[in-house]
């Protein structure tokens, strides 16, 4: 597993997660805003809401998109660190806001655009894949790079074993 292959796999998963997730959001929001607002959280109200949700074709389609995004996210979580992989999916905020404005015709106030811009810049900083080595400590990325280099000529399976073993150690509370 070279760094490049890992990076490509990760970003392919990010792309699928983001696009499928946004499609799901738009379909579900469209279906739910067409019905009455869910206001009654007693047993009868919840039953009615569930019946409404499961009979909407758009919600079902949205659910399929969410499922695609979910399995893509599972793939993403198995290839990268949580602190990189999860914020990377936040690219969907741009896509969602544009879709809300131009497909769902929501009137997005200026303050909301500013908020989305802040979220996006925040995400760009939060997803930086190669953290600078911290003072007096080896970062996990650096350890991983070292490992990749050391296991370069060994079998792929062995490299994966190493990786999952190190993940286990690092994940232990």
């Amino acid at each position: 597993m070279t760094g490049l292959t890992t990076g490509l796999t990760t970003w392919t998963f990010v792309l699928i997660t983001v696009c499928a997730g946004s499609c799901g959001d738009v379909l579900c929001a469209s279906a739910m805003s067409q019905g009455e607002a869910i206001d009654d959280f007693g047993p009868a109200g919840i039953l009615r809401a569930v019946r409404y949700i499961v009979t909407r074709r758009k919600v079902i389609l949205g659910g399929i998109c969410y499922a695609a995004a979910f399995f893509s996210l599972l793939g993403l979580l198995s290839t990268a660190e949580l602190s990189i992989a999860v914020p990377a999916t936040a690219l969907s905020f741009v896509l969602d806001t544009l879709a809300a404005r131009f497909i769902l015709h929501e009137h997005v106030p200026r303050k909301r655009w500013a908020g989305v811009a802040c979220v996006c810049v925040g995400v760009l900083l939060a997803v930086r894949p190669a953290p600078l080595p911290g003072p007096g400590g080896t970062t996990r990325a650096a350890m991983q790079a070292h490992q990749d280099q050391a296991g370069h000529n060994e079998s792929r399976a062995h490299g994966l074993d190493d990786q999952s073993a190190s993940s286990k150690i690092l994940a232990e509370p």
Binding site: V26, M32, A85, V86, H105, A126
Partner: protein, 147 residues
Amino acid sequence: MGSAANHRRTGRTALFLTIVVLTNSFGNMLLAMGMQRMPDFAQVGLQAYIAGLLHSPFVLPGVVLSATSMLTQLSLFSWADLSFVIPCTASSYVISMILAEFILGEQVHLVRWVGVALIFVGVLLVARTPVATKPHADAHAVPEAGA
């Protein structure tokens, strides 16, 4: 719709957003912990892999939390804008980062913390806009009888 109903709607929006964010963050963390402990798919085969997923103490609870998050978000969509709900759920990244640092033991770097701070500011800005900007179907409905 009286202002009492609007006020209740605002409180409920905040409550539901909190549920979405917390279930999403903890769901993601459990899924990550579960997936990191899974054997290599190519080595064990499909059946053993699925059995592994079902027996993992992290994967199923992670799925349940994610499903709760999704259903809560669907209810939110019935009265709030997509462009309001989605940026507000970005606060789950703040919580994910804190979980990654303190529970998963991943090293979260200073630049990423700055990013997280910006996300937080962005969410605060969005939260100060009206929950809904276009008339929803219930705007024309008879006001519900006070419970």
